[in-house]
């Protein structure tokens, strides 16, 4: 009966939960199994950010965290100095000196990358992955 009502309400049984949990756990597995990919991402992040600010390369910390139905990439990138003055376009970040002009952003492949923002390891579109061990080409999404 409960099952029937659930279906009536459009909810599915445990298989939907299973799929969701699997998707997340596999993403985590893949990341753990590809430390060199994380290194590559770090390096490329730094490259992009360093165009605008000087960062402390030694103390960069990248980690991954589950957030509801997504895997989040957390990048902590200490900034040593800001290269150029900027127009301070967005008020979201307070602890960290604002990154330069918004115009610079499109150059960065990561979504809300800089400093303490978290770039969501986005979900499905990358179904056809599977080439893990290769050093990830350019800006590999976290799903790879």
């Amino acid at each position: 009966m409960i099952e029937f009502l659930r279906r009536l309400l459009g909810q599915r049984g445990s298989s939907a939960t299973a799929k969701e949990r699997l998707r997340l756990v596999l993403m985590t597995d893949h990341l753990e199994l590809a430390p060199e990919m994380i290194e590559t991402m770090k390096r490329e992040l730094v490259e992009v950010i360093s165009r605008h600010v000087e960062v402390d390369r030694e103390r960069i910390d990248v980690s991954f965290e589950r957030q509801d139905s997504a895997l989040a990439m957390l990048a902590n990138i200490p900034i040593l100095s800001v290269n150029r003055p900027s127009s301070n376009g967005n008020g979201k970040r307070d602890e960290i000196p604002p990154a330069p002009r918004d115009a610079a952003k499109p150059a960065s492949p990561k979504r809300r990358t800089p400093a303490k923002a978290s770039a969501e390891g986005q979900a499905p579109p990358t179904r056809r992955r599977r080439r893990r061990k290769k050093p990830a080409p350019a800006p590999a999404p976290a799903t790879n």
Binding site: S15, K19, L22, V25, L26, D29, H30, R130, K133
Partner: protein
């Protein structure tokens, strides 16, 4: 002419590697192919039992590797299918009893004589798994539609893909009624998550236990639905485009889509 060398693997134990190896092998033999099945599960020999050949074992894989007998002396011919033979694993030895080069050499020698060499891989991802995969040039990954089995399958898929070997998937022990009620992952779900091309779908079926009890390959039961299912798998393996049986409500279209997506 050298045989196709295929490893049947899964990561997790008890999901149907041996059942798949035995029945796919018998089905291919029934179709007239020459087949050698190698039981690489050293210490946990089972393939002989599933095929009802356990009484005829004289020598085993490790003895061949150590040069104590010739391959042909260790091969057990199946009387029901003339072109089918198995090389049994050693039962009383350790998994490390055989070196990768030794295993590869045996596979090579077997491959020179037949159309298919199918390797029944041990569970896990250690030595035995590595040997079995190294000996093959393509892989069939078996999984059930359960989270732990799929996760383990994903691990072996990652490892085999890293070795650049083609992989195809068999979803075993599917229970269509549970899929319909949303309590079991569908084949599409499994293919989605694993991103591997689908080779076959084998439902949960009492006949598996019954045939295993008797040591009879499913291919002997012409009337049973499983016999037809393994036949389709064998034909797909040989490159035929065989539509997938619709077991769950997503139907043929969804299945085809799934296959294309994963392909």
């Amino acid at each position: 002419m050298s045989a196709r060398r295929i490893v049947v693997t899964s990561g997790k134990g008890g999901v149907g590697k041996t059942t798949t190896t035995a029945n796919l092998g018998a089905t291919l033999a029934k179709r007239g192919r020459r087949v050698i099945l190698i039981d690489a599960d050293i210490g946990l020999r089972n393939l002989d039992l599933v095929l009802g050949l356990e009484k005829r074992i004289v020598f085993d894989l490790v003895e061949v590797a150590e040069g104590r007998c010739h391959l042909r002396q260790a091969l057990i011919k199946d009387k029901r299918f003339e072109s089918l033979a198995i090389l049994p694993a050693a039962q009383t030895r350790e998994k490390e009893a055989i070196a990768p080069e030794q295993f590869a050499a045996i596979v090579e020698e077997a491959a020179a004589q037949v159309d298919y060499v199918i390797i029944d891989c041990p569970a896990g991802i250690e030595t035995g798994f590595r040997n079995a995969v190294a000996g093959a040039e393509e892989a069939i990954v078996v999984t059930t539609p359960e989270v732990s089995s799929i996760r383990d399958a994903d691990r072996v898929v990652g490892k085999i893909a890293a070795a650049n070997k083609p992989i195809r998937l068999i979803v075993n022990r599917l229970r269509p009624e549970m899929v319909s009620s949303g309590e079991m992952l569908s084949v599409d779900d499994v293919c989605d998550v694993l991103a591997v091309e689908l080779l076959g779908i084998v439902p949960e079926d009492e006949d598996v236990i019954d045939t295993t009890n008797r040591g009879e390959p499913i291919a002997l039961r012409d009337a049973g639905r499983l016999s037809a299912i393994y036949d389709k798998i064998a034909r797909r393996l040989e490159g035929e485009l065989v539509p997938f049986t619709t077991f769950d409500r997503q139907g043929l279209f969804g299945r085809l889509k799934g296959a294309l997506k994963a392909g």
